[in-house]
């Protein structure tokens, strides 16, 4: 399990958290703000009612209420297709409402590439049930047994009878279904609801599988899309937070007179929570810059960056988890003809979303509304409720597209910060971070070290395999912000970090007779408000562990003089995995030969190719990368990729291709450039100059995608899986080009120059 949802936080836990928070603040004597006046939010829809999921309008069009969100990967269209399919309705007539806590059930938000795999499946079930009920009602009205009726674009009719026809609008328009559903009682990703109807068989699909265009695109290119940054409310103030200059520093004294010259600027200060508001946004920014604060000077909490990986190796183990164990690894290792071992290192990485997070909050007495770009708006609502000391049903969370989201980024903190600012000043507050907050203060993807050993027999087959990761947990703070101890504001007001423990091991299908796969986490570097606190970043720990695992397989292939594709196939028998690896190699025109056996020792650039293969929760991906490495500068151009991708049934091939392209580019960026730099007391990657990402001039020339559609297999996720093989494929291609094995990401020119002469 690489991406398990940490245990569901119950409503009771949230309330307990709120109580703790109030006590803490009460003791500090700082929380003096009474709740402002305001109406209560509507109660949330419940999973057991068909009406919570589907509404039929007078014109027969349908709205589906989806408890996840789409950040631009086309999930809403895929869901519309699944719903339209079951309802036998044109897809254009299905509207999808997402991520509003008053209108959608909590399906976990965007999480773990489960949008179609899990979220969509419930929508399919409920759409099938809606169709069944509509046909049943039509049958009653027409006096025809429902099994004799057919549906065509939302019109129920008796074949061959021009009179016996009723549209969905005529049957139910604007009225409730009032039907009960079965559901499994699990809110979040794992929620499953269904009625009596059995959804269609894949061979009956007409809408699913079609390249239906995305719906959000036109608004975006014509500047008509509304982002959370664009939400405006009457009387709204603009807020800015003031982050500590050094990690762990607390404000000791604040001189409010330093911002007196700025019209309407006000200070909000509770313990370490420090912000300003002003009627004009530029004034809030100036006030944040001008505010005179005396900070404490704590012990620098971080290791020297160059010794990060040694720190990880030496640090005590908080949790060790063996995820897979088969046979007797050590005995087989002892009997092996040859044992090979290597270690790989991955740095902290930042979401570095395109814009720093923004949220708008309107906190009134007894209730609040928060507009958030968090990809898990129901949990953001819970977090806001907990920090305000309100029951969750008194807070209305409204998801509005944010400036990029690849997991638990800074949006989760912004929602809670905005709510506290609004509560303190009694006005609606729009809060946006500054660039350094997007880079330095977002939760980070964890740094890690991976040690792998393999025993090979005389024939060069792997007989024993041991994979162990050691690193920061992938969830110092939870992957969502439902509890204040998982937020910066909570920490700054006195709640200590309650680190969750999680990492992961590679998911692949190699037939190693003896294997052990384990991970270990180390303590967080700082126990609260750490700019290096970790949480989920797209494909949490997937890039790390598969960089290690798939580089190592390549090392074994090279050590045995084998071709990298042939060597993998030698250890694979699962038919889908074999097909994916073969498809990638074939499309790439892969030449069978050991890697690094055809190096050009003299040209200006050295060219090479590499492959990596992975699984993720049912999805199988193989990537072939072709690179050119500049001999002078050491710079790598990842020139061409071939991606073979099997995620079971494909809902929308165009959307899928675009999502894969995005992963390949972001994955390349992370492999070649990305590393959060820090000093012992602060993060020094604070903007795009100090945290470079892949430039447009470095774009691959081609990304060639082979989609393997398996209609008979339930759809698995596609939002993230193609991210995880990228670094290994590039690293393996660099080895082929140069003969140099890189075991540390990022593959910067400096790193390459240092080892490749």
């Amino acid at each position: 399990m690489v991406h398990s949802q940490p245990s569901q936080v119950s409503r009771r836990d949230v309330l307990k958290g709120a109580a703790t928070l109030v006590v803490t603040l009460g003791m500090a004597g700082e929380l003096s703000v009474a709740l402002a006046a305001g109406p209560a939010a509507r109660p949330a829809p419940t999973a057991d009612q068909l009406d919570s999921w589907i509404a039929v309008h007078a014109d027969g069009n349908v709205t589906a209420f989806f408890g996840k969100i789409d950040g631009g990967q086309g999930l809403d269209v895929a869901v519309a297709q699944m719903v339209a399919e079951e309802l036998d309705l044109a897809v254009a007539r299905v509207q999808v409402v997402m991520g509003d806590t008053a209108r959608t059930v909590n399906q976990g938000g965007a999480s773990g590439s489960t949008g179609v795999q899990k979220g969509g499946v419930t929508l399919r079930n409920v759409a099938a049930e809606a169709r069944r009920v509509l046909v049943e009602l039509a049958g009653l009205r027409m006096g025809v047994p429902p099994e004799q009726l057919t549906v065509s674009d939302g019109v129920v009719g008796l074949p061959g009878d021009a009179v016996k026809r009723l549209s969905y609008g005529q049957i139910l328009g604007n009225h409730p279904f009032d039907r009960q559903l079965d559901w499994n009682g699990k809110l979040g990703n794992d929620l499953v609801a269904k009625g009596k109807a059995v959804p269609k068989r894949p061979d009956q699909y007409q809408v699913v599988g079609q390249p239906v265009p995305r719906r959000d695109v036109a608004a975006k290119v014509f500047a008509r899309a509304e982002y959370v940054t664009d939400v405006k409310l009457p009387g709204m103030l603009h807020g800015r937070m003031i982050r500590p200059p050094a990690a762990g520093a607390m404000p000791q004294a604040v001189d409010e007179s330093s911002i007196r010259a700025i019209k309407g600027a006000r200070l909000v200060w509770k313990n370490g929570f420090l912000g300003v508001v002003a009627p004009r946004e530029w004034d809030a920014i100036r006030a944040a810059q001008m505010l005179a604060v005396t900070w404490s000077t704590p012990q620098p909490p971080f290791p020297d960056q160059p010794s990060l990986y040694d720190h990880i190796r030496r640090a005590p183990v908080v949790k060790r988890q063996v995820e897979a164990e088969k046979g007797n690894v050590e005995a087989a290792m002892a009997g092996a003809a040859r044992v090979i071992e290597a270690e790989y290192e991955w740095p902290f990485q930042s979401h570095a979303s395109m814009g720093p997070a923004c949220a708008v909050a309107d906190v009134r007495e007894g209730g609040a509304t928060v507009w958030t770009g968090s990809q898990k708006p129901h949990y953001a609502r819970d977090g806001v409720a907990a920090i305000l000391g309100l029951p969750p049903e008194k807070v209305h969370g409204i998801w509005v597209l944010g400036p990029g989201s690849y997991g638990r980024n800074d949006a989760g903190d912004a929602a809670i910060d905005a709510a506290l600012l609004s509560q303190a000043v009694g006005r609606p507050v729009r809060l946006q971070g500054m660039r350094h907050e997007g880079h330095a203060w977002d939760p980070k993807g964890p740094a890690s070290v991976h040690r792998i050993r393999a025993g090979l027999d005389q024939q060069g087959k792997i007989v024993s395999y041991r994979f162990e990761s050691k690193g920061l947990s992938r969830i110092d703070i939870n992957s969502h912000e439902s509890h204040p101890s998982d937020s910066l504001a909570g920490h700054l007001m006195g709640l200590p970090l309650q680190p969750h423990q999680g990492f992961g091991v590679p998911q692949e299908a190699y037939d190693f007779p003896n294997r052990l796969m384990a991970w270990e986490t180390i303590p967080p570097l700082l126990d609260r408000a750490s700019p290096l606190r970790t949480s989920h970043l797209r494909d949490p720990v997937g890039p790390q562990i598969h960089f290690a695992a798939e580089s190592f397989i390549d090392e074994l292939a090279a050590a045995t003089g084998s071709d990298a594709v042939e060597f993998r196939l030698r250890h694979l028998s699962a038919p889908r995995d074999v097909a994916v690896v073969k498809a990638a190699a074939e499309r790439a025109g892969w030449q069978t030969r050991p890697s690094a056996s055809r190096r050009d020792e003299h040209g200006e650039t050295a060219a090479g190719r590499g492959i990596a293969y992975v699984r993720r929760s049912g999805t199988i991906v193989a990537v072939v990368a072709e690179v050119e490495v500049d001999r002078q500068s050491g710079k790598v151009w990842a020139k061409r990729f071939v991606v073979a991708h099997d995620c079971g049934l494909i809902i929308n091939p165009d959307g899928l291709r675009l999502a894969i392209e995005g992963n390949i580019v972001q994955g390349t960026s992370r492999a070649l450039w990305e590393q959060v730099n820090f000093q012992p007391d602060r993060v020094t990657s604070v903007d795009w100059d100090t945290y470079p990402i892949l430039d447009i001039s470095e774009t691959p020339q081609t990304v060639d995608i082979v989609l393997i559609n398996r209609p008979e297999i339930a759809p698995s996720g596609a939002g993230e899986p193609s991210m995880r093989p990228v670094a290994a494929a590039i690293g393996n291609a660099i080895f082929d080009a140069t003969g140099v094995r890189l075991r540390r990401v990022p593959f910067t020119p400096q790193q390459i120059k240092a080892v490749w002469a």
């Binding site: 631009g72 995305r214 008509r224 395109m354 660039r435 392209e661 972001q666 447009i696």
Partner: protein, 155 residues
């Protein structure tokens, strides 16, 4: 010290009262005029999310003082074209389904529009050079280049 500044934005003139003439144009557009575009990405001239045209030249409004825009014709993405009268780049970006989050879009379309005005048929290398430095965190680089090349190849 409030100063009155007239801005000509997307064919309309607006008078605004400004306390700080050094205030970036971005805040005049977003906050004083209430336009949803352009976006704040970095405030440092490093990403392009705030790009507008001043007299047809692409500038980063986050690092252009409002006072410097006083007499210029300011065009935002909303003024570049509309669904009824789209700029060819908007058509191409829509057809290629370029944006994921789309927060970066001003940078790409506005910079490319200025580039194509200077050089109507740029080579791939010229496109990449002209756009270098703009950011897209979602990684839509390939689709961006496809869309711009589509327009660059039109007669």
């Amino acid at each position: 010290m409030t100063e009155r500044i007239v801005l000509h934005v997307d064919g309309k003139s607006h008078a605004i009262a400004v306390d700080d003439p050094e205030m970036p144009l971005l805040y005049a557009l977003r906050d004083h005029l209430g336009l949803a575009n352009p976006h704040f990405g970095c405030g440092l001239g490093q990403c392009g999310a705030c790009t507008v045209h001043l007299d047809g030249v692409a500038v980063r409004s986050c690092s252009t003082p409002v006072s410097a825009a006083r007499h210029a014709r300011i065009t935002t993405l909303a003024g570049l074209g509309t669904p009824e009268h789209p700029h060819p780049l908007q058509t191409a970006f829509a057809e290629e389904q370029v944006p994921q989050c789309g927060y970066c879009i001003n940078g790409w379309i506005m910079t490319a529009a200025a580039l194509l005005k200077e050089t109507p048929h740029p080579s791939e290398a010229e496109i990449k050079e002209g756009l270098s430095g703009l950011k897209c965190r979602c990684g839509t680089h390939l689709a961006i280049l496809r869309a711009i090349k589509r327009v660059a190849q039109q007669a």
